[in-house]
Subunit: 442 residues, 2 copies
């Protein structure tokens, strides 16, 4: 990979997602170019209104309001349609695909309504249409169904595909708020689309359900053929009663196939779902999808379903796949076997010595059940710079006791030394046992 | 895709996973070949002991104990190493990769101990080494980190990577059983590897952690450099106290990178983890991995981490990727844009009419709070073939009441008709509201 090919990308639209794609390619450019063995060049950015204020600054010469500079430009390798809507986006996607271009999109409404035509144009003209970002934001559900689970046929796919409605339901549940009160907050936070029906009446999630149904089963379903009901009717009482019965109320997309009867059901509606289901635990703005395949069983994916960064992660993933397609390169070239590439990624990276770890710990100490024991333990731990947060003691029938405590932030080396010292005390009857308390800092 | 290329596959090993690959390719052969645009031919199956009884019957002429028929056979396109272990498997993998072959493996011990050498051999000789099935069985964690999240750098990856120990911990927690008692059951169910240290001392999960650390960070870590502790020390008391403090005890793999200090920590040990973490809810034999990327945020994948079918789903996914590599075809040829392919997949598939759906329902009815109301409602519902399972009534201050009930299995058409009829009753004050109860039949 001495001479990296430059891949020329044109963005149609430079709103939230477009700016995210720009920003995140810049942010991880080095790692990305190592991984892809190519240089990513955003060569053209086309917007509707050149005068609109945007957060990300880009060079003036690549900036225009002329879509032809992307769509009809033979130098552009990948067209990213990030305008949204089904007007100009449809016309420009048609034009790009009919010229055999690769189009990457996050536009679920467009695929849902015109996917059948657009995939056909792509197929007939040698173009390709990538759409990971159109469903469930940063969750790689398209790639998972299409590639990772290629061995499977899918009896059931269901999940939460709209973050805004999930946020509203979560707050209604947790705080006992009414739908209207929560909606007000969601609006203030900018979570609700300008066209509120998309979020509140289930239309956005239904678009995504239609896409997943096509992907998994090869059948295009029309929105007006399926149940599409939103969350406006849900009251605090409903959520409370459902909770008492062991359910949560979630806005669910359901794509169920009965292979014997050769029947497909696609629908989008609020549903009571048992709290024991993993998907019931997907709260706030998160999305989650459960996929049941006849070989793999049930696999669940949970992650951020929307937002600038999560969505652009998926757009960039599609760009990466397109890069491999353009290079005619084997995809495994995402180069775990390319030692040189990985050596650069790991440049100077050092393995932390176990004794340098820090965290909280749980300690179990078997002791003689006599006065002064806890004081002696405390004293020893303090000398090792360990203080504890909770302590439990259990008397055993043989005149001994088990002391179980959790520590504040401590160093592994101190814990090890303290355990050794504890084991040497007369009152300690067997080597103490410790477990770490894991708290992901996210 | 009129003339499909035949892809010749050789299996090294025909134990649990090998038989699963055979069985599941046969099971979904039609869908697979449509999706891949290729014919999959398992041309050779090599075993150590020809006389051993096996559940799956295969033609005698492809069956041998001579690995050269796979490894040194120019007709074989893809070598599947499903023997396990680090003895003959190492030698045969070296031989295949050094001849530029594609090798698909489920062998985590081999990659963990010899991956650095094997990827190098592959790279230098034009071979390719695929290993999705080596980590977390049917969960596509390799593809997700390598491809779907290619835009990201990974500050934290953690999760449950050994199903057997998770099964033991789950039963200890739920049933208050001791470690030894649960282990006995796990052995009887055949969940524990012949070499018990792999499951109980964390070695199997540590192998997988090492692979994920390399994949995400490009650095090979040695098993003896990292913390690797199993579950043998955990007692029922530990689990109980942890529970009271809001934690579960899980055997966790942790791969944490500090980008500022350029430090990497890889470890495998039991840990107390807050019940509010999604991973804490991954129970029984399931695996779960949480991946935090600097662009996408946190994504969690949960699924079957072991077993014949789940593991073979991942092996077949790697075979599919290898097929595209061999065809030099763009990977998007997994053919959502190939109308002809999908038309065949959806052949005769019918969309279920919404009114034909069946399930349980939740109904909320606003009524006059007077005697005989519940009887009237029951009467009407019965006439529509709807019976109810639970009923809640809430008196409101204005002399009205809300009745909330859940039904037994009902037909959507009956629910619709009943709602309409209910709305026509004098005692019903506004159109009733219903939600479906979703119970995935898995």
């Amino acid at each position: 990979m001495a001479d990296k090919r430059t891949i020329r990308i044109g963005l149609l639209g430079f709103g939230v997602v477009g700016q995210g794609v720009w920003k995140n390619i810049e942010k991880n450019r080095q790692a990305l170019e190592y991984r892809l063995g190519a240089v990513l060049d955003i060569t053209q950015v086309v917007v509707k209104n050149l005068n609109r204020e945007r957060g990300v600054q880009i060079p003036g010469e690549i900036y225009s309001d002329d879509p032809a500079r992307v769509v009809d430009n033979p130098e552009i390798d990948i067209v990213c349609e990030l305008m949204g809507g089904t007007g100009a986006a449809l016309e420009l996607t048609r034009r790009a695909l009919s010229q055999g271009k690769i189009v990457v999109t996050a536009n679920k409404a467009l695929i849902c309504e015109h996917g059948e035509e657009l995939f056909k144009i792509a197929h007939e003209n040698g173009g390709h249409y990538f759409y990971e970002a159109s469903v469930a934001g940063g969750i790689p559900i398209i790639k998972t169904i299409r590639e990772a689970l290629v061995a499977n046929r899918f009896s059931m796919i269901f999940g939460i595909l709209n973050g805004t409605s999930n946020y509203i339901l979560t707050r209604m549940e947790r705080e006992g708020l009414s739908f209207d009160a929560t909606l007000g907050d969601a609006r203030e936070l900018g979570y609700v689309e300008a066209d509120e029906a998309l979020d509140l009446d289930g239309v956005d999630a239904a678009h995504k359900a239609v896409i997943l149904a096509f992907l998994a089963h090869g059948k295009w379903v029309k929105l007006n053929e399926i149940i599409c009901e939103g969350i406006r009717e849900i009251t605090g009482d409903d959520i409370r009663i459902a909770g008492e019965l062991g359910y949560k109320i979630k806005l669910l997309a359901v794509i169920a196939r009965d292979f014997k009867a050769n029947q497909l059901s696609v629908r989008l509606h609020p549903a009571l779902i048992s709290k024991s289901e993993v998907i019931a635990g997907v709260d706030e703005v998160y999305n989650g999808v459960s996929v049941t395949g006849d070989v793999v069983g049930t696999t669940v994916l949970i992650g951020r379903g929307a937002g600038q960064d999560a969505t652009s992660s998926s757009v960039i993933s599609d760009i990466a796949d397109a890069v491999f397609m353009l290079q005619g390169a084997p995809k495994a070239a995402i180069s775990e076997e390319d030692e040189a590439v990985y050596a650069r990624l790991a440049d100077g990276l050092e393995l932390t010595a176990p004794e340098d770890l820090e965290g909280r710990y749980y300690l179990r100490i078997h002791v003689q059940d006599q006065e002064g024991v806890l004081a002696a333990l405390t004293d020893l731990l303090t000398k090792h710079h360990i203080s504890f947060a909770t302590v439990n003691q259990k008397e055993l029938s043989d005149g001994t006791a088990r002391i179980m405590l959790t520590t504040h932030q401590s160093r592994e080396s101190n814990i090890r030394a303290a355990k050794e010292a504890l084991a040497g005390l007369n009152i300690v009857l067997s080597p103490p046992v410790s477990f770490r308390i894991f708290e992901p800092e996210v």
